[in-house]
């Protein structure tokens, strides 16, 4: 059972990671730096609960705000460039964050041993859940509370004017600008929101894994982050969730018998998927077909 709970936690955390890229992609920006914000959230929350002995909820919120702040900072220079240049800029940011934590050593004595990030050896003592006697069920519930909160917030945003604004910028920047939208405001806001969500995901990840090191936050993780919304399509937040379940639950876990060859399949899958369905596996058309197949039940209205 604990295996399935662990998987559920992983899916929840990766959903947050995917949603952080989803918000950006609504405005037409592709960021390969989400692993960087995730890392900031993970390390910051870990430092707060381990070194400053904070409760997990404030630690998590502070970590997410810090990640959001950095996303805000990255947003401005990165927005002077568009499209593919933004991809390069965000890859560079993600690598910069990774190298920063690779070099970060902040050890403090606690109960006779030293705890804290230990540069190349990673950050090993994030044992908040164990120390406070949380059961696996409670941890899973905790993770999914945040996942559902974020999903509900995004779902609601999508149905409000703000969602229309985000999508307008994503569809056609020139048209959005000519109806009086400020591109910078919209994009930086999306970037900041994405950073916040990734920060929450990272904070939860650090505490469920109890151990993080710089190798967790590579370009591969950033690729996972953007591949969820790309595979799931941008029609709603549920696409991302479905894609995470598909990749983490079915592919990564289901192909365990293939051993190390799984990671080859991941690369191949992306190539094949992009050739067959360049605008996402669950794009608007597929979603409509699916809805028709299940008999048009449920509230998901098709977007014009």
């Amino acid at each position: 059972m604990s295996y399935y709970l662990g998987l559920a936690q992983l899916i929840g955390i990766h959903t947050l990671l995917g949603l952080s890229a989803y918000v950006l992609m609504l405005t037409g920006q592709l960021s390969l730096g989400q692993a960087g914000f995730f890392a900031i959230g993970a390390y910051c929350a870990g430092i707060l609960t381990v070194i400053f002995e904070l409760h997990i909820v404030p630690a998590l919120l502070i970590a997410a705000l810090l990640a959001a702040f950095f996303a805000f900072l990255v947003g401005f220079p990165a927005l002077r460039v568009k499209g593919l240049m933004l991809v390069v800029a965000t890859i560079a940011f993600g690598e910069f964050v990774r190298l920063f934590f690779f070099n970060l050593s902040w050890r403090v004595p606690r109960d006779g041993i030293h705890v804290g990030p230990d540069s190349t050896n990673g950050f090993r003592e994030i044992r908040y859940f164990v120390a406070n006697g949380w059961s696996a069920w409670e941890i899973t519930l905790f993770v999914w509370t945040f996942v559902l909160l974020v999903m509900a917030a995004l779902w609601w945003t999508d149905r409000s004017r703000a969602g229309a604004v985000l999508r307008a910028v994503g569809e056609d920047e020139l048209a959005a600008q000519s109806v009086g939208l400020s591109l910078t405001t919209v994009k930086v806001t999306a970037m900041t929101a994405g950073g916040f969500i990734a920060g929450v995901g990272g904070a939860l990840y650090a505490h469920t894994a109890t151990y993080v090191d710089h190798l967790t936050f590579t370009v591969l993780l950033a690729t996972f982050a953007i591949s969820y919304p790309i595979l799931g399509g941008l029609s709603s937040v549920f696409g991302t969730l479905v894609a995470v379940i598909f990749i983490q639950g079915v592919l990564v876990e289901g192909l365990r018998f293939m051993g190390d060859w799984r990671s080859i399949v991941f690369g191949l899958l992306i190539v094949v998927a992009m050739n067959l369905k360049p605008s996402g596996l669950f794009d608007a058309r597929t979603a409509r077909l699916l809805r028709r197949a299940v008999g048009l039940r449920g509230g998901e209205k098709s977007r014009a």
Binding site: P77, R80, V81, L84, L268
Partner: protein, 298 residues
């Protein structure tokens, strides 16, 4: 005074070595920039394919004891073939205006190639034959490493060959036509797909040389250098100005010198952070790059 002089020679020597090594970054940057110029897309498989080419050359060296020129030739050819495959799988059948899908597919290709290499070599680093590493020229107080000089010479030769193809042959004319205006080129009877494929092969050949040069200058070939090399190549491309070949050369040398300077002062763990900072400085103050025209860059 003599202490200062010694320090000065040491630092300039380090920067000089970096400039020489930067020639390989310049080659990788040229490859990215060439494809960006032709299609307006980033081929993320490029650095991985270049290193895979070097692995093919290494295999020739290990199994049949091929001489150095053959090793380089095989590296270049293998990487050229991979370039063609990358074009077919990640660009050819994806709608031309869907940049993100092509980018995503090529990232998939990057991990695919990388994993294949990891599996073929069990992920362990392999030694690559160094060339002229026992040769040392003395120029005043400085020493010029023979292997780095060879790297520079090969990179210059590769770049000159590329410039010859681009500016003196019909093929190059077609490539430049497609990169300027693909619809107009098509109306003139140029087969856009074939020209793009040729660009990928050309870039791949160059990349194979760069990969083998990198491996021979470092001395080892390891899957661990794929992502850093990709990132450095992208940084060089952006700093030089997307689509600009002279820019890529200048930026490659700049990054090489810059990184060795910080290697000397801050050590190997922090070196790359400063290179990334250099990129951000460029993004903030000169986003169009050294030689970029700026106005029409997307």
């Amino acid at each position: 005074m003599s202490d200062f002089w010694f320090e000065f020679v040491e630092i300039t020597q380090t920067i000089g070595d970096g400039l020489f090594f930067g020639a390989t970054y310049a080659l990788i940057g040229i490859g990215f920039t060439l494809i960006f110029g032709a299609m307006g897309k980033l081929n993320m498989t490029y650095a991985a394919a270049s290193l895979a080419g070097a692995y093919a050359g290494l295999a020739a060296f290990a199994f049949v004891d091929a001489p150095a020129p053959v090793v380089f030739l095989i590296s270049a050819l293998a990487s050229g073939v991979l370039g063609f495959v990358a074009y077919l799988t990640c660009f050819r059948f994806i709608p031309i205006n869907n940049h993100l899908a092509a980018l995503m597919a090529s990232i998939g290709g990057l991990f695919f190639i990388d994993e294949m290499v990891v599996h073929a070599t069990d992920g362990s680093p392999l030694t690559f034959p160094a060339l002229f590493d026992d040769v040392m020229f003395d120029v005043g107080p400085y020493g010029v490493r023979g292997d780095l000089l060879f790297v520079l010479a090969m990179c210059v030769a590769g770049t000159l060959a590329l410039l010859y193809v681009l500016y003196r042959t019909r093929l190059g004319l077609a490539t430049r036509a497609v990169s300027q205006q693909d619809v107009a080129a098509q109306l003139c009877g140029i087969d856009v797909h074939r020209t793009n494929a040729t660009t990928f092969v050309l870039a791949g050949l160059l990349g194979g040389i760069a990969g083998a040069m990198t491996a021979s200058a470092v001395g080892v070939l390891s899957p661990l250098i794929t992502v850093p090399l990709t990132v450095k190549g992208l940084i060089v491309t952006v700093i030089g100005g997307l689509g600009s070949i002279p820019g890529a050369i200048a930026a490659g040398l700049l990054v090489g010198g810059f990184e060795n300077f910080f290697l000397y002062f801050r050590g190997v763990n922090e070196r790359d952070m400063y290179v990334l900072l250099l990129l951000f400085i460029f993004l903030v103050f000169r986003p169009q790059g050294i030689f970029g025209s700026g106005a029409d860059r997307d």
